[in-house]
């Protein structure tokens, strides 16, 4: 077998191990969904009247706010799911099993690639579940074409890939799973200071650049544009640039951490 097919085969074996874990212990995945779902319900049904007054120049009703918030919640779901990936890989790295893998003639990156692909698939499943909750409370896309739907899924997958690589790096750089969970916490806090819940231009002027150019806002704005037909503008390119940049950064970071001598 060629080096590439060996790499694919070993990575696939590791991925199946990760998926088996997720299948056997679904509570871990489901727990991570609680935060975005709670946020969705909290902002729509508890804070909804005030929140909807802040969008669309005031006077928007609840269904308009649901339309506004769901794309942000979907991105937040990814942020929440990848925290699980950070904790999971950190837990894995402290196990003797990884030491065993390191002394076997398997493709070096397979352990991490298994984690990353597993986490991306898990993120997509989570997005579908949270999206279903969104639809259940009244979210509808407006005239999105098949192509736009595909692009929306592609964006979600790409964003999940980027955040997973960063989370995996955070998990590997952390001495223990608790620290990994803390290190990855910004990935679920960043949506709070993005345009997920309120438009960035309603934030204080000095803060707007931070809100507008952090990774979540361009991704959320692009998803909104694809599903709801709002203006995407430069956000599309920004989102893709962030995703590619974070993926490359996370990849090299994680791999170099993995290639260090273990403790």
């Amino acid at each position: 077998m060629s080096a590439l097919s060996l790499a694919v085969r070993d990575s696939n074996t590791m991925l199946r191990r990760n998926l088996l874990h997720a299948w056997r212990y679904p509570s871990g995945t489901l727990n991570l969904l609680l935060t975005p779902i709670m946020m969705l319900l909290l902002f729509v049904y508890i804070f909804g009247d005030v929140m909807s007054a802040g969008i669309g120049g005031g006077g928007a009703d609840r269904s308009e706010y649901i339309a506004y918030i769901v794309p942000g919640i979907l991105m937040m779901t990814i942020g929440s799911t990848v925290i699980g990936a950070a904790v999971y890989i950190s837990m894995d790295m402290t196990e003797g099993l990884i030491a065993r893998f390191r002394t076997m003639a398997v493709y070096r990156g397979s352990v991490i690639i298994g984690h990353v692909v597993g986490s991306v698939l898990q993120s997509i499943a989570s997005v579908v579940l949270v999206g279903a909750v969104g639809v259940a409370i009244g979210f509808r896309s407006t005239d999105a074409t098949v192509l736009e739907w595909l692009a929306a899924f592609g964006l979600l997958a790409l964003f999940a890939l980027a955040l997973t690589w960063i989370a995996v790096g955070m998990g590997m750089a952390s001495p223990n799973p608790e620290a990994a969970g803390n290190a990855a916490m910004p990935l679920i806090l960043l949506p709070l200071i993005s345009s997920a819940f309120i438009p960035a231009d309603t934030m204080p002027g000095w803060f707007q650049p931070i809100a507008e150019y952090q990774p979540f806002t361009p991704a959320i704005e692009t998803l909104r544009g694809l599903l709801l037909g709002t203006e995407i503008g430069h956000n599309g390119w920004l989102a893709v640039a962030w995703c590619v940049g974070l993926t490359v950064l996370g990849y090299f970071w994680s791999m170099s951490l993995f290639n260090r001598d273990p403790k």
Binding site: M1, D10, R17, L20, R24, G96, L97, A99, R100, A105
Partner: protein, 334 residues
């Protein structure tokens, strides 16, 4: 790159005979300013059992980690299965199996799934994988629990699964880092049986242990590692000969008789508190007879006479003790 720091060879020729399964020259490793391995030379013939014996923190695990390509050495050269550990780690990995000190099983999945995972990573076909898994689970008495999560296994079962996983790829060289630590006596004896079985199949075994009995029991050759250096190396018998630990012990109940004997037998080591004398001896019948004759002629009548042959404990304590006090009498704790 790392091999450029080859030390000047102390063996003249430098190259080892090709039959060595594992060989190292001047292996060094330090963490910060703490030197863990300080120039280790090993030569382990294929098909033999080698035990690295040492107290906690002597560097045993570090040696295993370097030789199994888990971590890199700071200096020196090592070859495992004919491959340089630093420059051809994958060659080494393809030939070895490692059972580390800490359980290397996936507790979240079943014993059988752990085995199939190993089979997949060794690129066995589905059929081969199932066959090897069934065989090894049977051999290690795990068939009944094969479908249960490994986290529910007892310590002995986890160890057995660990070794079974190590054997999936049919490794020619096996590293066992403290294979019986934490096992009850029965499981330990089972493990010894497993290790002997491996050896009879022609596998080279490199094991570390703190138990002298274990090294004596299993190993063809033993190296005593202390403070990052090999303090002694040889067969169990050779090591025991290094230490003049054998003696005949005479115990008295009457202090007067003890004093009398002590003044007569000037060569003996005195233990005034225990009212006992120790006469150095190699434990042979001839020497025992001559000592008895001598005692009779000197009119010494002890209440109890015991013969102490040196065991690995004597060797161990003599070599690894803080000041190296081989003549210090020591009770064998049991």
């Amino acid at each position: 790159m790392p091999s450029s720091v080859m030390p000047t060879s102390r063996r003249g020729g430098g190259t080892q005979p090709p039959s060595a399964a594992i060989s190292t020259v001047g292996l060094r490793k330090s963490y910060g300013d703490k030197t863990v391995l300080d120039g280790i030379d090993l030569h382990i013939p294929a098909g033999s059992v080698f035990a690295l014996l040492g107290p906690n923190g002597a560097g045993k695990t570090t040696a295993v980690k370097i030789l199994s390509t888990l971590i890199s050495a700071d200096g020196g050269q090592s070859q495992v299965a004919g491959h340089d550990v630093a420059t051809s780690p994958d060659g080494v990995r393809a030939a070895i199996g490692v059972t580390g000190q800490f359980s290397a099983v996936d507790g979240l999945i079943t014993g059988e799934e752990n085995m199939l995972l190993m089979a997949d990573l060794h690129h066995l076909s589905k059929r081969e994988g199932r066959q090897v898994t069934a065989e090894l689970l049977e051999r290690f008495d795990l068939t009944e629990v094969a479908k249960k999560p490994a986290s529910t296994y007892s310590g002995g079962m986890k160890r057995r699964l660990d070794i079974a996983m190590t054997l999936v790829g049919n490794p020619r060289i096996i590293f066992l880092d403290e294979p019986t630590t934490g096992l009850d006596p029965r499981s330990r004896h089972n493990m010894w049986g497993i290790i002997r079985e491996l050896v009879s199949g022609g596998v080279t075994v490199f094991l570390t242990t703190q138990h002298l009995e274990e090294a004596d029991e299993l190993a063809d050759r033993i190296a005593v590692l202390n403070d990052g250096k090999i303090a002694a190396e040889g067969t169990a018998e050779e090591l025991k000969r290094l230490i003049p630990g054998g003696h005949i012990r005479l115990r008295f109940t009457d202090p007067a008789a003890y004093q009398n004997a002590a003044t007569t037998l000037r060569e003996a080591n005195r233990d005034d508190e225990a009212l006992s004398l120790q006469i150095p001896s190699d434990g042979s019948q001839r020497e025992l007879r001559s000592i008895l004759d001598w005692l009779d002629s000197a009119g010494v009548e002890a209440d109890e006479l015991t013969v102490h042959t040196p065991d690995l404990d004597d060797v161990f304590f003599a070599l690894t003790g803080p000041a190296g006090v081989p003549n210090q009498p020591k009770e064998t704790a049991r």
